[in-house]
Subunit: 237 residues, 2 copies
DNA sequence: CAGGGAATAATTTGATCATATTCTGCCGGC
DNA sequence: GCCGGCAGAATATGATCAAATTATTCCCTG
């Protein structure tokens, strides 16, 4: 059975001590998360082509895990499968934004209602912490941090709703507009961003699920409207 | 910037017959579709374990395409990744059904509204044809055909809405309850299944988007309520 | 004689497979 | 009853083949 496959058989002996602790997550999972973050926080521009071998090089990974990660991201809508075998970061159109507005305002308030019903003191504290960091990012004009904290705020809220399917849907929607958020925010400036998080937090603290849902709905709509506004003034070059 | 060197469908002066006609899809795409159908129409039971090598054997494919297909389906929620590297067809819980009810009744009426606004005569005819086959399947008690035609009806409708994101979300939801539909229908019998498709078709024919949406909403709710009823009486596990 | 278009050649990239390696769960021996 | 080997399955790599895009060159036309 053993082949006379000459060559690369000896590089394998490079095993420091990975056996002990670092072996927690499979490689494709790590690649997936890294790529997801890159996409979500706008480090890959909309329209940019994503090649398998390019990712292999830049992340220093094998081909199979990268393939799986890309496949997974395309299934989630974070990447788009353009015709032949070209994969790109999707560019938002006005139509897409309209769909996203509808879907988000339909789903997310419900998640907030459920999260409010299940809210704990620790949860409130965690959300407040994130929101404080978000405010700090806005004050500092730190776009990168703003995007991350804003996402974290919503993601934590989804998780607290204990509705895995709805949370997955909402999360998937986020992946679709994440890449363009950076472009939009860069154009609008962090100062003018909507932030209904304080209202939502106050309502959740008071246990008023309806008010929390309303605040979140407005946060969503305002944010997405801003995206739509930028997109519709930005003629395709 | 120019979006297309794409297209130009027919520069086939050389390679006359092979290239133009049979568009050979990549293997992983084929595997994905086959697996998706198997899951969607209940040919894999909820709770059943899906092993890579098992799929390799049963579909006679290599390992890499199967891996990608499975990864994609897990990303869509059609398969579930259970802790260890075990992948199973998810079993619906009452909580999941409640989430699905909410999500579907939030999304699908909007798709129907959009489809109605864009409806053409050919579209109406196509939907009527599918619905007739659906009725025939119900009359014949052909569960397999019922499931397929029912899905086709909805899927075609989604496509006509020209809302790719909403359609993708709705399609993803369908994948989550598809496997359990067969179990439920097997228990309830095809006769008692809800069918608001006639009302929806009539409303679409009349161009009454609101009425069409209402009919679809009732179809969705009735169907999912039936699933919930069966699940909540089925305590045996 | 020069410029443009098309066909071909070459490089780049994607798809698939065979194979090695690791991990998990199980079974038998002590 | 516990520990260690064994088998099966999944992860991951590299090689290899096919397809496509790009670039170059040649020929035709103005």
């Amino acid at each position: 059975m053993s082949k006379a496959k000459a060559g690369s058989a000896d590089i394998v002996s490079f095993t420091p001590d990975m056996k002990a602790g670092t072996r927690e997550l499979p490689a494709h999972e790590l690649i997936y998360r890294q790529l997801r973050e890159l996409i979500l926080f706008g480090e890959m521009r909309p329209g940019e082509a994503v090649t398998i071998q390019g990712v292999c090089d830049s992340l220093g990974a094998g081909m199979t895990p990268v393939r799986e990660a890309i496949r997974r991201l395309t299934a989630e809508g974070a990447l788009e499968f353009m015709g032949n075998r070209r994969v790109v970061v999707p560019e938002l159109t006005v139509d897409s934004v309209n769909e996203l507005i509808f879907a988000r305002q339909a789903i997310e308030p419900q998640l907030v209602v459920r999260a409010t019903e299940r809210m704990t003191d620790e949860g409130l504290e965690e959300l407040s912490t994130i929101d404080a960091e978000l405010d700090a990012a806005i004050a500092a004009g730190d776009l990168q941090s703003y995007l991350k904290q804003n996402y974290r705020f919503h993601a934590r809220l989804y998780a607290m709703a204990e509705a895995p399917i709805l949370a997955a849907v909402a999360d998937g929607l986020w992946l679709r507009f994440g890449p363009s958020l950076r472009v939009v925010c860069g154009r609008v400036g962090t100062q003018n961003l909507p932030d209904q998080h304080h209202e939502a937090l106050a309502a959740m603290r008071a246990g008023d699920a309806g008010a929390a849902a309303k605040a979140m709905r407005e946060d969503v709509i305002q944010g997405m409207e801003q995206v739509r506004r930028v997109l519709s003034t930005q003629r395709s070059d």
